[in-house]
Symmetry: C2
Subunit: 420 residues, 2 copies
């Protein structure tokens, strides 16, 4: 597959400049970016007139639980504990490999419609999920989900198996969180990190109660504990990071660990507001994720990026607390590097063709005072005209090339009855 995009603007994310020109792809890679060029006698499978639209790297959803689409708007009149124990856990116990397959496909449909080209996903039934990813053509990075209730024994197997399953799929070590993983298991995870010289990720400091509990159990915060146990000796990071102390931030900074923000979920579950501006002031590695559909409830990276700027404004009383371009970087290149996708971070020749086309003819994208800011402050899924992963156009003008959306919706609603 080769595609020529012409009559477009391009934001490579290598810098904060929008240029005019063309972008060509050849198989899974970008083969040309630059001014309108003489294509000579080169024949493309498709030539797309972008009509002034903007090409940029796909958004990277750096923390999610894709198959939790079943829990969207499900009994969310409950507070967190009741919601988990009365609505979520009983249904999760009934989830089968087939459920996860269809529910993940529904999430992929939403990701593609929102310009997301990769996700960093922590959930179970990984084999069924990997099948759904490869069928869809979606770039799926699995995060280990081990805790005291399961998943410890399979970690190494997943690491070996899912990292050689398909180029679209990879696996990174991870565990649920400190409060669900005893010290023995944390030590085993640290051993795996050392054996494979591999990064490790986990939920971290999502709620104040979690941090208080860790201090009670270990006399320190989760970040200090994981650091002390050697879990972070080969990198990695954490999801949420809402209640980080300055010391936690210093550890993450010193070790080059990734802080992944989940603003919508933290608001809805009343977990708190992450002081994003402090991470940026400390020049830390940051990325952004949606968390699962039950606690967000959308899977839109645009809403996340918006909140990661303006929530810092209101927290600091400074209407320019966070530079929106820094947040756009976190949502694209940051996410890619966080989940080990070194070839999907920016648009450049030789990089993976994980590209989205923003429709600049949507009213929310006008006037063009600052295109990058329009995306952070004003965009939503309605501006996404096309989503390409690995050089294949998977979504265009509301249509999917590899997903039968009607079938996915039908199957998901059918299985909701089984879960009831």
């Amino acid at each position: 597959m080769s595609v020529r995009f012409y009559n477009c603007r391009i934001l490579t994310m290598e810098d904060n400049k929008v240029t005019e020109g063309e972008l060509w792809t050849e198989n899974d890679r970008i083969s040309y970016i630059g001014p309108s060029a003489d294509k000579g006698d080169k024949v493309f499978d498709r030539e797309i007139d972008c009509k002034g639209g903007l090409l940029m790297p796909g958004l990277k959803n750096a923390h999610t639980h894709s198959a939790m689409t079943f829990s969207r708007s499900l009994a969310d009149e409950y507070c967190l504990n009741d919601w988990l124990f009365k609505a979520i856990f009983p249904r999760e116990a009934k989830l089968t490999a087939e459920s996860v397959y269809w529910l993940s496909k529904l999430a992929y449909a939403e990701y593609l419609s929102g310009g997301i080209t990769a996700c960093f996903d922590m959930y179970f039934e990984k084999d069924a999920n990997a099948k759904a990813a490869v069928e869809t053509g979606f770039r799926h990075v699995f995060c280990g989900a081990a805790n005291d209730f399961g998943g410890m024994e399979e970690l190494e197997d997943f690491y070996d198996r899912l990292n050689s399953y398909d180029p679209l799929v990879s696996f990174i070590y991870g565990f649920h969180a400190e409060y669900t993983t005893c010290e023995d298991n944390l030590k085993k995870i640290s051993e795996l990190a050392h054996k494979y010289e591999a990064p490790v990720f986990a939920h971290i400091s999502e709620t104040k109660a979690e941090v208080d509990g860790c201090i009670e159990r270990y006399g320190c915060t989760p970040a200090v504990l994981f650091d002390r146990l050697g879990i972070y000796d080969f990198g990695g990071g954490g999801f949420h990071c809402v209640w980080f102390t300055d010391e936690d931030r210093d550890i993450f900074k010193k070790r080059g660990l990734w802080s992944v923000f989940n603003a919508c979920s933290n608001l809805k579950l009343a977990s708190g507001i992450t002081p994003v501006y402090k991470f940026i002031a400390n020049d830390m590695k940051i990325a952004i994720g949606t968390d699962g559909a039950g606690s967000n409830n959308s899977l839109s990276m645009f809403r996340e990026m918006y909140l990661d700027t303006v929530l810092s404004n209101v927290e600091t009383g400074n209407a320019a607390a966070v530079d929106p371009f820094t947040i756009l970087k976190a949502g694209t290149t940051g996410g890619a590097l966080c989940m080990g996708l070194k070839d999907s971070d920016v648009l450049a020749v030789g990089k993976k063709a994980d590209i989205i086309l923003i429709d600049m003819n949507r009213p929310s994208m006008q006037p063009e005072n600052n295109i990058a800011r329009n995306i952070v402050y004003s965009a939503d899924n309605s501006v996404v005209k096309m989503t390409m992963i690995d050089g294949k156009i998977l979504y265009e003008d509301g249509k999917y090339s590899t997903l039968d959306l009607d079938e996915v919706i039908r199957e998901c609603n059918k299985l909701m009855k089984d879960l009831a």
Copy 2:
């Protein structure tokens, strides 16, 4: 124009029930809502298969400055004061009637694409704006924008003239805010309210500095002052209401005044977070607006409704602090009643055909655990398939019937050069 919508779900907003059936329109009104009916030999101008989509009342943007689209992403690295004095005021001084005409049309395009069927707008060059509204077919309620720098003399003239200009256009008394309007002018506005037995609206308690200043000047909050001056003797309300005291809320409750929330603008400008849950606990009249594009920067009511639920969660530490259906009511029927549109509040026979069609085949609207919650928690402009105002389809599948969007975008970008 008569339209038959069939194969649809209907949320009338008279209650929290989604029914299946049909909806018919005849000229500007709804003529039938109910189960699939035998249409006999009735001929419709159009029959639309909604494919299971949801019909509901259009969203009502109950506080905005439409023509401020020029200020989207404009120099917003400045903090509020510099932004106003260096970027906004010098450009507003250059705005002409023609600028306001085009900039308002750009806002209408965005409203329609986001399922908004009416706006409550405070700005200047009202005649040019009214022309744009009628040409577009948009339902535009003007709010007086008087203050010490202008607009006082024209108030009564606008009231008479714009209320008889066109059925799509109306005018409600209003002034900018306490801190820009001296006591003499406030008294004159009160006299007009009494002369016409008319409601009055203004910005109120948007920032802490505004409230502190009012207390310094008058020894009381803006709400107490306006109440004392008789401004609210025939109803009305205020925009923002971020820093309301319990006494302010009691005044608004006692008098049946409207509190209009603007969450996005308040976050971005670092004004604060409105405790929406307190207004709901007090059973007050509430509505929702986007504010202008410079301080939001989108004009999406979906993002507002989302934030009006989850920000109360995080403020209270209660993940179910605000019932999302209450917020959906505020965004539809509340807004309509707030701006005097008594026939545009719900879907019912004889009511105005101000209707939107939500595409339930967007992944973010699935599964259908709770359709109303999906709209508040997960929707964005991408789910809006059709927007009808006064019985006319103005937006459908991304296309406009009364606006030449290319021309609007071209004109707006051209005039940005004149404003530079």
